[in-house]
């Protein structure tokens, strides 16, 4: 219980109100609805009891040596990130509706938007979305609004969960069509693009793609533009320490999952949707946007801006219904990026790519195992295994406490018995050798 009222407080307050009892205050509620019986615990726990219960539950989650990525990545979070995000003034504030009393949150959002623009090489970014999947869906929605077209072309390597979410966002109408660009050697078959892009609203691509492969984006924007379509690119932000930025290859909208930038895995959220675009589409951005301005003395300050796009002003004409953002997660990502800086992020990206390359080298040398694709990959790769990949995963998990990767057959049946194996900077040489030995033994 977190209420401060004493019996005396309650009596005095009711007296000031002029009510003889609490029941008088809720007379507007038909009495038959009041105080029903709840089949809920009759006793609450004190903090130490609750702590013990929760520690027990947390302890029931096993902590394998984890090589599963597939859209959420185990990353080291620097201590300074938590030190800032646990600052009570950030943690317990609301959306900055009163800008004079929220300059801290607002400046942090402005710096977040700038960070996203820098990483993705784009002109503008919003104050964040729920997660990578919803950012992706909103970017495609924006492309549909801009072009007035309803054909959505997407690369086969886009995260299947992103596509599921996208289709849910368009579930209100059967008019939308989805055309998949087939995969060739783990990346999109570029030769197929010109024909497929005819009449399309956008081409949606993810790189590194869901299978870890780096798409060669050179010339793709030109093909897209020639068809009158827009280019929507999804990219992991840490990969951009090293890999070509969406702005460099001409993306109109660039999105990503910001969990990579210092957020815990937490079984799926809260994560951070990164959303950026070219400046001509700025008014198509959904959600909150912070802008720099001046106060009446000419001093620099920050406000939420371009609100004419938003639900609380435009109601049924709004660009999106979103009214929150993931400000605290955005703060974490901003601090993370500032701590590492451009050099540190490059090192991180290289450490990821190096760990995955080493894991690929060792695992593919095991008899019966091989790499499914030959091309360059970032921090995960597809490994062909002998026999059932799902059974192999369960066996190694049970025997060695190692989660060796995600079986791909349910998502990509055409890839056969394969695993998507991920290694981030958290994996040492010893970890990877342990993985190799465990897989070898289990096969």
């Amino acid at each position: 219980m977190y209420t401060p009222h004493t019996k005396k407080d309650r009596e005095e307050m009711l007296k000031t109100i002029g009510a003889s009892s609490f029941e008088e205050l809720v007379k507007q509620v038909p009495s038959k609805f009041l105080w029903p019986k709840f089949d809920l615990p009759q006793q609450s726990l004190d903090e130490s009891q609750a702590a013990a219960l929760l520690a027990g539950l947390a302890g029931k989650n096993c902590r394998p040596l984890n090589f599963v990525g597939a859209g959420a990545y185990e990353r080291y979070t620097p201590a300074a990130v938590g030190a800032i995000t646990s600052r009570t003034e950030f943690l317990t504030a609301y959306t900055p509706y009163q800008p004079e009393a929220s300059q801290g949150t607002l400046q942090a959002i402005y710096e977040f938007q700038s960070t996203v623009c820098a990483l993705y090489g784009m002109d503008c970014a919003n104050a964040s979305m729920y997660d990578g999947a919803s950012s992706f869906a909103e970017a495609v929605r924006a492309a549909v609004r801009v072009t007035g077209r309803k054909k959505i072309v997407y690369a086969a390597g886009v995260n299947p969960q992103y596509m599921d979410t996208l289709k849910t966002y368009f579930a209100h109408s059967a008019e939308y069509t989805y055309v998949k660009v087939p995969m060739k050697d783990g990346v999109m078959d570029r030769a197929a693009l010109p024909a497929l892009l005819e009449g399309a609203a956008c081409l949606a691509v993810q790189t590194p793609n869901f299978l870890g492969m780096i798409e060669d984006m050179a010339g793709v924007a030109d093909l897209t533009k020639a068809a009158g379509a827009l280019l929507v690119a999804a990219a992991d932000p840490v990969s951009l320490g090293l890999l070509a930025a969406p702005g460099e290859y001409g993306a109109d909208f660039a999105v990503g999952e910001g969990q990579s930038l210092g957020l815990p895995l937490a079984y799926g959220g809260p994560y951070l949707g990164l959303f950026s675009c070219k400046k001509e589409h700025v008014r198509q951005m959904p959600g909150r946007i912070c802008g720099l301005t001046k106060d009446k003395d000419g001093k620099r300050g920050f406000v939420l801006t371009l609100q004419a796009r938003e639900q609380h002003i435009r109601r049924d004409k709004a660009a999106s219904n979103i009214c929150s953002n993931e400000a605290l997660c955005a703060l974490a990502a901003t601090v993370y990026s500032a701590l590492y800086g451009p050099e540190g992020l490059k090192e991180l990206a290289e450490a990821n790519a190096g760990a995955a390359a080493f894991a690929a080298e060792r695992l593919s040398a095991i008899k019966g195992c091989s790499l499914k694709f030959k091309g360059p990959f970032f921090n995960e790769f597809v490994l062909v295994v002998p026999g059932s990949a799902a059974a192999l995963r369960e066996k190694v998990l049970a025997m060695k406490g190692i989660d060796i990767g995600l079986p791909l057959a349910p998502l990509y049946p055409e890839l056969g018995e394969t695993l998507l194996v991920c290694a981030t900077e958290t994996k040492t040489e010893a970890d990877i050798l342990k993985l190799e030995a465990a897989v070898k033994e289990a096969i």
């Binding site: 989650n61 504030a93 509706y97 009393a101 300059q103 951009l240 301005t293 106060d295 290289e350």
Partner: protein, 481 residues
């Protein structure tokens, strides 16, 4: 709050080429061989700072904020209650925080058990049958709810195109309706702030899919005719969606399911005490009756014998509204909050939120008349008195004057149907002393404003910045460094 007035630099302006914060070393023998044509040509323009620079910069920024822990924050409709630190500690437990969303179910038994128990408790609390915890926020829940409605009618072979909302509704209601391709039908409220039932009946029929209704409504008034409303909507073959943003007024005191609704949403960052974080992350849920359950997003959690498993439903499910399970980290905090309350103590949340709102209303009634003549539920909607309006003072001036006096402003200019609205939601966690101090500040704003209107129009003067030029911000957007 301490305002370091001399330093309002951006992090990038403190950057020095070559200065380093953290390093990431690659101890592995193998280096990735990424072809140069796939690599970026220019480094991202991020600040180059030492760790201390970063700490000092963001610590300074934090001190420019109002927050629940530093200031009373009576923002109506937002339920800015205390965010227990125990919740934070629970969510940070490595067993929860470190769990990969695609972990095998055998590795996730603790989290799945927690989600299963949380689902059961919330379903009972709402007096409904089934739940999804996948939505990331309130608006995202509304989106999910309308998807359920659409799937429900499609499954019945019906096409319904209209969503009915009262004119007092949150902006997210009509925005969600549009996003889903529905047409919004607005119903005018009666002078007492309630939905006009006669008017409603005129506007519902075979085209109506859903009535979206906030209970209590955004004026802090309970829809006393809710039974009749639900009956009329059901007779038209439509569904009733309860916007649960104001559940703090009912929690543990009324089961929304008893009112006759078909589904509702929860905002964990409001009713269940998880922090707002400057705008998010939140978490939402849709709680519904049996007839909507088959359409819920996947996965949900099911118990099979002594094991908990992710349940992927069947083809009737609307699919996914976000990647993975949901904002589980926030849900752990909500569960910790539930553990801290017995059934009776949950009712005390509603009880004290209502007493606090009526207490403020009573203390301020002479200077700031209440829109409604009735007692309010968990929040009250006031306006500046005639003496202030006559001097040209507006709600915005009251808000800025309060900030100068060390209180966060209430929600202003909402609901839209009240001219110069001041919407105050004190929540149950504030003490009588704090409310007395707040009322004194409101009185001081009134008295000094009437005496010297220009001084109030110049407020705030004690903060890091004065009133900001929002017009320039929108006209020439500067959105990044």
């Amino acid at each position: 709050m301490i305002c370091a007035a001399t330093d309002n630099q951006l992090s990038i302006e403190k950057s020095a080429p070559g200065r380093r914060g953290l390093h990431a070393k690659n101890p592995l023998r193998t280096r990735a061989d990424v072809p140069a044509n796939l690599c970026r040509k220019t480094a991202p323009r991020l600040p180059e700072l030492a760790e201390l620079d970063v700490m000092r910069h963001y610590t300074r920024l934090s001190r420019l904020n109002f927050s629940v822990d530093t200031h009373f924050y009576p923002l109506g409709s937002c339920t800015m209650k205390y965010n227990p630190r125990f919740n934070e500690a629970a969510a940070a437990l490595e067993g929860f925080a470190g769990l990969h969303p695609l972990a095998h179910d055998v590795c996730a038994q603790g989290t799945l058990e927690l989600l299963h128990d949380l689902s059961a408790r919330l379903t009972e609390l709402c007096g409904l049958d089934a739940i999804t915890l996948q939505p990331a926020a309130g608006a995202h829940s509304e989106f999910t709810g309308l998807l359920l409605a659409k799937a429900y009618f499609e499954n019945k072979g019906e096409t319904r195109t209209e969503i009915v909302v009262p004119d007092s509704a949150h902006g997210t209601n009509p925005a969600t309706a549009s996003m889903m391709g529905f047409t919004t039908v607005n119903i005018a409220s009666k002078p007492d702030g309630r939905l006009d039932v006669a008017e409603l009946k005129k506007h519902i029929g075979p085209k109506t899919a859903v009535l979206m209704l906030t209970v209590p409504n955004t004026l802090g008034i309970f829809e006393s005719n809710i039974e009749e409303i639900c009956r009329a909507v059901h007779e038209a073959g439509a569904l009733v969606y309860m916007d649960g943003a104001n559940l703090n007024a009912l929690i543990g005191m009324v089961k929304p399911g008893d009112l006759g609704i078909d589904m509702m949403h929860l905002n964990f960052h409001k009713t269940f005490s998880t922090p707002h974080g400057g705008g998010g992350p939140g978490a939402g849920a849709i709680v519904c009756r049996k007839h909507l359950a088959p359409f819920l997003p996947v996965p949900t959690v099911k118990k099979e014998g002594s094991r908990y498993v992710s349940d992927f439903g069947d083809a009737r499910s609307i699919g996914k509204v976000k990647a993975f399970f949901g904002n589980t980290g926030v849900l752990v905090k909500a569960y910790a909050y539930m553990l801290a309350h017995s059934a009776e103590e949950l009712g005390d949340i509603a009880r004290y939120s209502i007493i606090n709102a009526n207490y403020i209303r009573a203390l301020l009634k002479e200077m700031y008349p209440s829109y409604s003549s009735e007692y309010c539920m968990h929040e009250c909607v006031l306006t500046p008195g005639k003496d202030m309006l006559d001097k040209g003072l507006k709600t915005l001036d009251v808000a800025k004057g309060l900030i100068d006096r060390g209180f966060h402003a209430p929600t202003i200019y909402f609901p839209l149907i009240v001219h110069e609205a001041i919407m105050i939601e004190p929540t149950e966690t504030e003490s009588k002393e704090t409310l007395d101090q707040f009322a004194a500040a409101m009185k001081d704003v009134h008295d000094s404003g009437v005496a010297d209107p220009q001084a109030l129009k110049d407020a705030p003067v004690t903060l890091p910045v004065k009133r900001l030029d929002e017009v320039q911000a929108a006209r020439q957007p500067n959105l990044r460094w």
